[in-house]
Symmetry: C2
Subunit: 733 residues, 2 copies
């Protein structure tokens, strides 16, 4: 599976470069992410560039706080517990102090790093494998070796900063007692994990490479770059090559890439500084640039990453890797207003030469505005053939409307059974959210902050997402290995008309014997206050199935156009498996025509109107069943349930009106759109009509055959003939 | 019951004043809240005072938007519906336009007011009583006459502004067709409601008085001031006299006073301008000042009103009456830094002469900080003998810690069965909240925005609050008439030591045959990160009862020191009446020693430790049962349940640590305090011990006898003798 073409080209290049430039040279220190001359420039720029000055002051405040406190290197402890957090704080403190030493020359900072390393040099050799690891590979300081790589990657930079100041015998002591044993652990004992294409492998190789560069140990550096077998099947280049699709999409999702991009960027930058002939920033058609840009576009208008896969719903572009990247990418790939916009939200720059350039440009820009990303589709898979991820955007800034659909690969161990799942952001809220992970990260009393059992039993399951569930089972029957072998497929993506943006994707490999096609449109109309989502989900099946269409929402139900019966006296779970066991049934209804549900979320109303086949059910639910340890968040969902063979689920989601409880003001609790009708569907096309107040009458035609922007289509439904050219047509009357 | 002393004095004063100053004078227009000379000063000050300028620009923007849109005066409709909101918007638009006409002299604004009044003059005579009132007295434009008073109070000011510009025949038309019929409705047809001491009566009398002043109709003004019987038993003065306790506390709570204070201040100010000899601002020892200051102190650190009684949890100091009051109170009662602080949060001043003065002072102040209110106790009842409301505060600004306890009267129809109930604010969150009301105000699809049935069945009940529930029944068995006859009592309130603040209250009239005493302390200790709450709730009873101590919280359970069994497969309500039927039981435990529960709310952990008598239960619950229309919010609670006769429930609530999901950072998930012990209690005193890490050891002694700051107390418990002087003693070791 692994393509090696880029690596092969690159290896020959590297060997050539190596013979030319590297003979007998010892690296000047520091050289990993900051140099002495760069530090002088930064200090000189503090008065001129406010963004740089505030970043520097924050760094200095942290370093000064650290060196004035007692040094403590505790015995290892529980994940998320005191010792765990203390060892994390220690590497941050050492790196900050190393930087401040480089900026100021004040040996108090260097002495702090030395004293702490002395303590680690005493402790580390006494430690065996951490006894409290669960399923993870144990480190010695931490319950999992991953955290130890993070420790080393940071400490390598601290060491780099004080290297010249240290006595040779101290250097020898730290290398013998800490760094060499760590490299041994990461790249010999766990050689397989080091070489595995995974964010953990990225951390392992980058940390080995960083300490190798700091120590002047070329063997470590080569191992980090080319893998433990020194053949490019593992190591940093293989990670960079295979973790990203050709346009930079990361199969594990944005939450993980913001974590993986930290070692990637730190080691890439260290290589650029120490092995410039490698031209690492040009590798694989500038894949590092693409990876960064892909990541920062996988975000809500408020800057939170789309929480697909095992992701936190709160992680955002303030994460350290993104902060570093904004400065480094600006420096290495050139001016971009959107990077200034990112820096505006982040409120800081990285305190080195790259951050200096960014702060300069920021100060010179007449008006810096928040980033305005455009609609975009990312392909998935390292060769770009494993489906993708589509993002439709409308409007500007935090009030942007965003519709995102996931139709790529599964995403390895952190993948969810969520193909053709969508998320919708509007009015600054995640209106139709992804649950993210079931985890209270770093909270010791919550299973040591690890993934909780409910992550597998609920968060990963199909019903936890906004996509069709067939026969109450998850896609690929919840089997990760089966899911990893397949992927959904792109059908078409067309954002040429900003008022009618469309994306369509398919799969026939996630539920046996079924073909699914989801087409989602983001449509503007001057009679509507905000863009609306039109969702056309077509199912083909030879056999009869139960179909559940869940919509997760936030807030409270304000209105329905049908009667429902609340489960008021007794509440039971919606099912017994596939995640249904975690959803209390709170109410239910039988509906026979267009069903409308209006809820309130933040300051806006949202109405969902779906054209149900006769005698469908609407089920209302709330997560939290079979959750005896209060591990889940309690969030509401409604599910349209019907059964049949071939079918189109068409629905529309309209944001409207305004509500403020503080102002006691309510405007337009009723939507403009009133009716939705599936006129017909065939292998050629689907036709849907939408009707509303103000004489709103839309006809939407979708191509169900092979995607082709030029093909002509004609279908006859209910005595009417519909013709169009290309993948879709929308008539707005 | 009604004391008339102030009114009697005042009436003689008024008659005197009247004969001296008022002969033959016609008021110059406008004169209610703005004059022509004042308007000129405001305009002249726009360039100098940014706060005034932005307020003016906002007003102008609203007025310009209104006059450029079509005028629409719809037929009356459902509460919260389109027509309802439109009539509200219309009075706002007319008032804004009237003000702009006064500021600019631009007749386009005056013409707008005229044209709209023409429409109302056509419509109003055709209307009978509004057909969609529920239990309320119907208006004609609105489903309840209250809204119509609001309409008139605002429209009177618009009319006042354009009065001189209008032709006499137009004035006659509006008075004949709109204003006189409205006054007839408010003060003749509903004379009883007009004179009733209630916020509705305040609105009725103030609106009648305002239009009376605008029209130059002295009879209306007198009626408004002295009531429909013209004897001071009703009307504005009686409202001001009896709605507030001697220190300005309003028995219906802050949510209602922010509504009642609007007509109070507008009419008071109009009287001061038109009947200055009344000296209304001196009435009842400056009760208007006290009412305002009491109101703005009944707030969380973020400026939301304590949501006691039927209150919205979101209503805050941006409410129009508070905005007007900040300017007027500053103008009439003089400089106060806290008023500047309020203006800072509000971000605006009222655009008249009072706002001009406030904006001037604001611009001259070197640094305006957010208001810093102090600990304070308010007495309840118009003679101040009906218990009270205590507020303990520690710290500054939005991160202030606030502990509030309610021990006054019931509060009429909007009262809750919540005596000795507390609320706790910390870290910018309402950590132990009051549910407020069960209502989606102004949302037409939610029962027309009215109070919902669940307001009576849940929100008013004792279990919806943070106070003891005996035998699963609400105080006074949920009978409002019984509750209105009694009140809780002050015991002592001592904030002389800012590190140990204490309040204590009692009642023996809310549960038959029981005496309750709740003593709450807000304690600082340098070993603790934040002030903690110590709660000592003593019960005496001859008979055995079931005791439930509910703590409502927000967020998620992170830890307990006991095993509990989740109600994972089936969820049932906690009971069948008194509000218990609305709480799902989510988990339960049997505990035999100190129980500790830690939850996460915002960025902080909170640990509750309670010394349970042997074999108690801890019940976890979530609101939402027996709620077939999704009317309730879903909020968690835990309840300590035990049974017995005499008993002390002692508990401590400790805020600690830090959590950020976005930063994936967790600090100190475990509290410092570990144990709490009721050493003993008697009619003389209660002794409690608190133990924790860092050798923390406190002994707390509380006086249970008659409050007396000088009395000596000695008690013997478990062979130890405890002696102290005064109402309490805390030894911190």
């Amino acid at each position: 599976m692994i393509k090696t073409i880029h690596i092969v080209v690159f290896v020959s290049f590297l060997i050539l470069g190596c013979s030319q430039d590297q003979e007998g040279k010892l690296p000047a220190h520091p050289s990993l992410s900051l140099s002495v001359s760069e530090a002088q420039e930064v200090v000189a720029g503090l008065e001129k560039y406010p963004l740089l000055a505030s970043s520097y002051q924050e760094l200095k405040g942290a370093a000064d706080g650290a060196i004035s406190a007692d040094i403590e290197v505790p015995l290892p402890g529980e994940a998320g517990g005191y010792a765990h957090e203390k060892h994390k704080q220690n590497y941050r403190d050492m790196k900050n102090a190393g930087y401040l030493f480089t900026f100021t020359g004040d040996t108090a900072y260097a002495f702090f790093v030395k004293t702490m390393l002395d303590e680690y040099a005493l402790l580390y050799p006494t430690l065996g494998p951490h006894p409290l690891s669960a399923k993870q590979k144990p480190g010695r300081l931490f319950h999992q070796v991953l955290n130890e790589s993070v420790w080393l990657l940071n400490t390598a930079q601290a060491y780099d900063c004080v290297y010249e100041w240290l006595k040779p015998e101290d250097r020898q002591k730290y290398e013998d007692n800490i760094f060499n044993p760590m490299v041994e652990l990461f790249s010999v004992k766990y050689a397989e994990a080091h070489d595995q294409i995974h964010n953990h492998g990225m951390w392992a190789s980058a940390s080995v490479g960083m300490i190798g560069l700091a120590m002047g140990n070329d063997e470590y550096v080569e191992r980090a770059i080319f893998g433990t077998k020194n053949n490019g099947t593992g190591g940093f280049l293989a990670q960079v090559e295979h973790l990203f699709s050709p346009d930079g999409y990361y199969m594990e999702g944005a939450y993980y890439v913001r974590y993986a991009i930290r070692p990637l960027l730190f080691f890439a930058e260290a290589l650029e500084r120490n092995r410039p002939y490698m031209k690492i920033y040009e590798f694989k058609d500038e894949i590092i640039k693409k990876a960064f840009y892909s990541m920062v576009q996988m975000t809500s208008p408020s800057g939170e990453f789309f929480p697909i896969n095992d992701a936190s719903v709160s992680m955002n572009i303030l994460a350290p890797g993104v902060l570093y990247g904004t400065s480094v990418i600006f420096d290495r790939y050139g001016f971009d207003k959107n990077l200034l916009g990112l820096a505006k939200i982040q409120g800081e720059v990285y305190p080195n030469g790259a951050g200096l350039k960014l702060a300069q440009a920021y100060a010179q820009e007449p008006e810096v505005t928040e980033p305005s990303w455009s609609s975009i589709e990312f392909v998935d898979g390292d060769d770009g053939t494993h489906g993708g991820f589509g993002i439709l955007r409308s409007g500007e800034g935090k009030d942007q409307t965003v519709l995102a659909m996931k139709y790529g690969g599964h995403g390895l161990g952190h993948g969810h059974f969520d193909k053709l799942h969508f998320m919708f952001y509007d009015g600054g809220e995640d209106v139709v959210p992804d649950y993210g992970y079931a985890r209270w990260v770093n909270i010791e009393t919550k299973y040591g902050g690890r993934y909780l059992p409910e992550n597998n039993s609920y968060a990963k399951q199909t019903i936890a997402h906004n996509t069709l569930v067939i026969d109450g089972k998850s896609q690929n029957d919840g089997n990760r290995k089966a899911a990893d072998k397949v992927h959904a497929s792109r059908h078409f993506f067309d954002v040429s008309n900003p008022e009618i943006q469309v994306m369509s994707a398919t799969t026939d490999v996630h539920y046996d014997g079924t073909s699914l096609q989801r087409t989602m449109l983001l449509i503007e109309d001057q009679r509507l206050e905000y863009p609306v989502v039109l969702d056309i989900y077509r199912v083909e099946s030879e056999k009869k199935h139960q179909y559940d269409m869940p919509i997760h929402y936030k807030g409270y139900i304000m209105n329905t156009n049908f009667e429902y019966a609340g489960d008021s006296q007794v509440q039971k779970p919606l099912g017994t498996s596939s995640g249904y066991e975690h959803i209390w049934k709170t109410a239910g209804a039988t509906v026979t025509s267009d069903a409308m549900i209006t809820w309130l979320d933040g300051h806006r109303y949202y109405s969902y109107i779906t054209d149900v086949p006769s005698k469908s059910e609407i089920l209302f639910g709330m997560t939290g069943a079979n959750d005896p340890n209060f591990n889940l968040r309690n969030e509401p969902v409604f599910i349209t349930r019907t059964s049949g063979k071939d079918m189109v689920f068409a629905s529309i989601l309209e944001p409207h009106g305004y509500y403020s409880l503080a102002e006691e003001s309510s405007i337009s609790v009723h939507p403009t759109i009133q009716e939705l009708r599936v006129v017909g569907h065939s292998d050629e096309g689907t036709v849907v009509e939408v009707l509303g107040a103000k004489d709103l009458h839309w006809t939407i035609m979708i191509n169900n055959a092979v995607a082709d922007a030029d093909a002509e289509h004609t279908v006859d439904f209910s005595g009417e003939t519909y013709s169009w050219k290309g993948n879709f047509k929308v008539i707005q009357k």
